[in-house]
Symmetry: C2
C-alpha cells in the first residue's frame, strides 16, 4: 500500500501531505473505550518528540461537551473507531469540523461513516475481533505512530520515520515470539486468577493505554471481572491500600522512560501481595530483535495488548464464559 | 489575606504579578492522588476559557519520567501537595525548574519544602484530615480556580474574577446546605452499601476529579473497598458490562456542560441496576444561592468532594473501620 517515494502507509502519507499548508499547534486525540486506549501511547509519543504540538486525549462525548475553546482552525483532531460507526466519535468529528479543525479518522473500513466524515481517512486492520491474522504493522497503533512521527517531522524537523517504520515492520515476529514467551505465565495465572472477582491492572507511560483497554474492554466488558487500570505512580497515593495477600494484579512493565514507576510498584506488590496473585509481564524478558532501541518503549504496549488476549481467552475458558458473546449490553441493546 | 487592591488571595496575586513579564503558553497541572484530583477541574476550567494556554494534568512521577519535551521556559507548572512534603511532587518541582519553567506550589504550610522549592508558593487550608472547620473559599480548589481565572484574564483578556470570587465566598453556606440536603441519602445508602466489596464512581467534566478522589482516596485508601472512577462517557464502551442488579455505583451529576453524559449514565444505571445499589448525587437538587450561574458547574465538585466525606464516615462506622487510621501502608511504612 506504500507509494514508491514514501516509507509511510498511503493513507497516512495523504493526510500528512494534506496538512503541509495548514498551521497546526494543537492535536486532539479523540475516541471511545478501546480506541481511546490507543490514543494514550499516541500522545506519549508526541510528548516525547514535539516541542511545537500540545495535545489532549479525550473521550469523544467529553470532547464534544467539554468543547475546549482552544479547539479551532489550528487544531488537528485525530479520531479512531474500529468500525467507523461509533456514534459518539462521529459526533466528535462533526464537532471538530464545525470548529474549523482538520480531522483525521482511523477505521478498518475506508468507506465507513467516520471515514466519510473526516478530511483524511486512514484505514487499518483489526485482528482481535475477527480472528483473522493480520500483521501488527497494519494495526491502528502502527498507523497512529506513523502519523504522529510524520507530524513531528513536519513541525519539529525531527525525522525518525525510517527507524520507526522498520521497527513496525519487525513488530509482528516480536509479538509472535512474545506469545511463546508469555504462554507458560498465562497458563499458570489463568489457573490462579480465573476465579477472582476483582483484578487490577497497573502501568504507566506508553503502557498505560494497554492496561486501560485490558481493564475496561477485556476484564470488565468481556469477562465481567471488576477492575481498574491503576496508574503506577498514583498507586502509592491511595489505591495501594486495597493490596493484601488475596488481591490480584496484572503489572505491565514496559521499556519506556516511566519504567521506574513500574519497578517501584513491583517491589511493593511483592512485599505485601502474594506471588500467585501478581502476574508481571516484563518486556525486558522479550526478544525484540529488529525493533530500534529508540522505539522499544513505544512498541512494547502493542505486544502487551496483543498477547493479553491469549490470557483473556484462557481465563474465559476456565470461567465457562464465551468471549465476545459474553456481553449483556454492547451491540445487543440500544442505549 | 487579600490586599486592598485585589479580589484575589495575596499568594495568588503575587504569583500572577510575578508572571506578568513572562511568556507562558503551556500549563502543567502536577500532583499525586487527592491533590491530582483537584487539578482535573482546574484543567476543565482552563479548557473552558483559554484559547492561549494548552495544558496537561499529570501525576508527579509521570511528569518527571515522561519528561514532555514541550516543557520549558514558556511553561507554567502548578503543583499541589497538602503537606508540601510529597516527595514525588518535590521532585517534579525540581524537574520543572531545571527545565526553565515557572513553578507555583500549593500547600497548607507556606514554609513547607514544596513552598520553598517553587517560585511562587500559595497557601490553602484543608479541613478534611484535621477536622478543623474551614471556609471553602480557602481550599486548594478555590486558590487554584483564582489562579486559573487570573491566567485567563492575563492571557485571554477575559476577566471573570469578580463573579468567581463572589461565588467562592458564597460556597461554604452552599456546602453547609448541601450537607443537610444529602444527609438522608447518605444515611440510607450507607446502610445499603456498607457491606459492598466493590463500589464504582461515575462522573465526567468538572466532576471527574471528585469521583476520582472519592474512589482512590476514600473507598480504596480509607475503606479498603475496591473501586474505579469510571468516566461517564467511557462507561458505555466496556465498563457498563459489569452492571447488574447487585452492583453498586455512586453517580455524580454536576451542572457543567458534560451533564448529558451523566444523565445518559443515570438512565442506563436505572434500567439495569437496582435502585438500592445506585446512589445519585444530583446537584440540580441543591440550593446554590450566591453562586454565579456561570461557575455553578465548576463549584459543584467542591460540594461533592466535601459532602461525600460524611458518607464515608457513615460507611466507616457501619464497617467498624476507623477512618484515617484504617491505612495499612500510607504514612505507616516507608516505600
Amino acid at each position: 500500500m506504500n507509494d514508491a517515494t514514501s516509507l509511510l502507509h498511503a493513507d497516512v502519507e495523504r493526510a500528512l501531505n494534506g496538512l503541509t499548508d495548514k498551521k497546526i499547534d494543537h492535536v486532539f486525540f479523540v475516541a471511545c473505550g478501546g480506541s481511546l486506549s490507543v490514543m494514550y501511547p499516541g500522545k506519549f509519543l508526541l510528548d516525547s518528540y514535539s516541542r511545537k504540538l500540545a495535545s489532549d486525549c479525550l473521550n469523544a462525548d467529553e470532547f464534544v461537551q467539554r468543547d475546549p475553546v482552544i479547539l479551532g482552525s489550528t487544531s488537528l483532531v485525530i479520531l479512531c473507531s474500529m468500525t467507523g460507526t461509533t456514534k459518539e466519535t462521529l459526533r466528535a468529528a462533526q464537532h471538530a469540523k464545525a470548529k474549523g479543525a482538520v480531522t483525521v479518522g482511523l477505521s478498518v473500513d475506508t468507506l465507513s461513516p467516520l471515514a466519510q466524515e473526516v478530511d483524511f481517512p486512514i484505514g487499518f486492520e483489526a485482528p482481535y475481533t475477527t480472528g483473522v491474522p493480520i500483521d501488527a504493522r497494519d494495526s491502528n497503533y502502527a498507523r497512529l505512530y506513523q502519523l504522529v512521527m510524520g507530524l513531528v517531522k513536519a513541525h519539529d524537523g525531527i525525522d525518525k520515520l525510517a527507524p520507526l517504520v522498520a521497527s513496525l515492520n519487525n513488530l509482528q515476529p516480536a509479538i509472535d515470539r512474545a506469545h511463546a514467551t508469555f504462554e507458560p505465565l498465562f497458563t499458570q495465572y489463568a489457573g490462579q486468577l480465573h476465579g477472582e472477582s476483582v483484578i487490577y491492572t497497573l502501568a504507566s507511560g506508553a503502557s498505560y493505554g494497554a492496561a486501560y483497554s485490558f481493564s475496561i474492554c477485556v476484564l470488565m466488558e468481556m469477562l465481567w471481572i471488576n477492575s481498574q487500570a491503576v496508574h503506577a505512580g498514583e498507586f502509592f497515593h491511595g489505591p495501594f491500600e486495597v493490596l493484601d495477600r488475596d488481591r490480584a494484579f496484572v503489572l505491565l512493565m514496559g521499556l519506556d522512560r516511566t519504567r521506574p514507576q513500574q519497578e517501584r510498584a513491583k517491589v511493593f506488590l511483592e512485599r505485601f501481595g502474594s506471588p500467585e496473585k501478581i502476574m508481571v509481564l516484563d518486556a525486558a524478558k522479550l526478544d525484540l530483535d529488529g525493533i530500534d532501541d529508540e522505539f522499544k518503549g513505544n512498541l512494547v504496549p502493542l505486544i502487551f495488548f496483543d498477547t493479553l488476549w491469549k490470557f483473556a481467552y484462557k481465563m474465559a475458558n476456565l470461567r465457562n464464559h464465551v468471549m465476545l458473546e459474553g456481553r449483556r449490553y454492547m451491540k445487543k441493546i440500544s442505549y
